[in-house]
Symmetry: C2
Subunit: 345 residues, 2 copies
């Protein structure tokens, strides 16, 4: 690409930049749409008591998934997880999934069978019906687009814009493990490519947890149920699909707030730490920038966070909300404070 053009490429404005940009381009507003661009899912007026929620994303082979180490059924299941995770992140329940495939010639019917086996299993797990989709050709890369539909009681919807000053910043599970799993898998792929032995089978048992986090992530349906059963209502919520800093920044921008994080509070699994050590990389960067964990990032009044802590140990308070718009500060173990720029581009 010519140099004088480089400041106009998509990567230069980034994903969130583009989203802000296109929000301005299309002016038409429908009274059936309660909330359009900017949250995990589009929010529609369904009936007096409920909103409909729709989310859609496209996964491209070689960008979002690698068929050289991901079995087809896991790719299918992961696509569904990515879709429904956005519905849970609005505190909703998914009901239907549509799958579109772009299929290159080398893909056989058996492979598609396997893909749909995974889609079907994930649909059952999340209580969704596979309800449609589309099939087209593709040149080289396989393409999977997933649309998830769900709904939520109007008074229970959680936007990413509701964070309040002094709220606790919470995250379920642990962070960076899906990225760590990907790094293990890519390392083994490289070893395999470099080896003379085409049937070499890597032993990944010592990395079982992080590999599973990459290959078979699970959307946090369980945590949404816990919130409901105990009448806990986060003030804001988003799923960690792009990475903690990126997704937190979206909450902060929407809420016009800032966040103060404690580095030592970032939940990191032991295997993730071990891998970062082997790779001689900074494990906190895995936690801050790693995507695809599909954990829930949410804010709660401190008292509510205390109540939740009595019910579940599967979440961490990693900091609190401040009044400094879009600013993320992080206190290191040494007491130093790092300030991050806007990670959403």
């Amino acid at each position: 690409m010519p140099k004088d053009n480089s400041d106009k490429t998509i990567s230069s404005i980034g994903r969130a930049g583009l989203i802000r940009h296109i929000s301005g381009v299309s002016a038409y507003r429908s009274e059936r749409v309660a909330y359009g661009i900017g949250d995990d899912a589009a929010v529609l007026h369904a009936n007096e008591s409920k909103y409909g929620l729709i989310s859609s994303e496209t996964l491209v082979e070689g960008v979002e998934f690698d068929l050289s180490f991901m079995p087809f059924h896991q790719v299918g299941a992961k696509a569904v997880t990515a879709g429904v995770s956005d519905i849970y992140a609005m505190n909703g329940q998914p009901h239907a999934v549509l799958i579109n495939l772009g299929v290159p010639n080398r893909i056989t019917r058996d492979m598609i069978d396997e893909l749909y086996r995974g889609i079907g299993m994930a649909c059952s797990d999340y209580g969704c019906q596979l309800s449609g989709g589309d099939l087209t050709g593709s040149h080289n890369a396989m393409i999977i687009s997933v649309t998830a539909y769900g709904d939520v009681e109007k008074e229970k919807i959680i936007y990413n814009s509701g964070a309040k000053v002094d709220d606790a910043v919470c995250v379920t599970g642990d962070l960076g493990s899906a990225l760590a799993g990907l790094k293990v898998l890519l390392r083994e792929k490289r070893h395999w490519e470099e080896s003379e032995d085409p049937v070499m089978q890597p032993d990944l048992t010592e990395w079982d947890y992080i590999v599973k986090r990459q290959l078979v992530p699970i959307a946090r349906k369980d945590m949404i149920s816990l919130f409901r059963q105990n009448e806990i209502r986060p003030t804001s919520m988003i799923d960690v699909s792009q990475g903690l800093l990126h997704d937190l920044q979206r909450v902060l921008t929407s809420s016009q707030k800032g966040a103060y994080l404690y580095q030592s509070a970032l939940p990191i699994d032991l295997q993730t730490r071990k891998l970062a050590d082997e790779m001689q990389e900074d494990v906190d960067k895995y936690a801050l920038y790693g995507g695809e964990d599909f954990e829930l990032l949410f804010t709660l009044p401190e008292k509510e966070a205390g109540k939740l802590a009595e019910l579940s140990r599967d979440f961490s308070v990693i900091g609190k909300i401040t009044g400094k718009p879009a600013q993320v500060e992080m206190q290191t173990a040494e007491g130093e404070v790092i300030v991050f720029g806007d990670e959403t581009g």
Copy 2:
């Protein structure tokens, strides 16, 4: 691909074959889904009086669109048209559109601006709000996935499956012109590639209608309004996106009926005829197999078809429904009867 594998490729089972196949794979049924796979859109229980409708499709550069002769804003508008056409085909009104893009590096921000300009214009035309979407990378081909959401009064929904024996088979507008337009554009592209003159501008004015049908097709919102205003309710309906025979076959399979067509009644524009003559091809094949016309194919009791004929001249009765399941017979001008196999694979 090895020969012993060839019977397992996707092309060997076809699009509808795959749809039938996957319907069996995923067993989970949600009570929120009124009707899943098999019609233009998925049908959801929204409230007591209305169904929600969702449709999604993926368009791949070089398969569904060609950026060498399609301006970006027309690609954007056409993607929206493809999405909302499925909502109209259920007799619904579209309200929201989600767009996912897979963008290769060569695409600049200006191009994306143009794409969204077309998306925005089409959304306004159809009364839809651009309500979300996703952005990812792509290797070579640009990928556009469009999800359309709409709704329809429960008593007004029209499925594929309602055709009755002796109903008139009707189609709006004309057939095969989008394919004819594509053939003109591909011919000019070839001329341009073979010429020594890189700035050669083809004069397409004599083909203005068919080129427009390919580049800026329009979903038949107007016909849906006419039905509503005059309380005309087709017994079955589908949009002509894959080609008349293919889409008719879907209606017949769902309805467990057959059709008897009159070849001389197929509505074909003069430019389409002229192009087929120049190409020395059979224009009826354009009408029977050409996709992307986005016209509505519907069935009506004969009396209702008469009533509609008093209100609009923009549709044709091309035959009638018979009791021979999945069989399409066509009477030629010479009185011969051709029987078509199942075109849906």
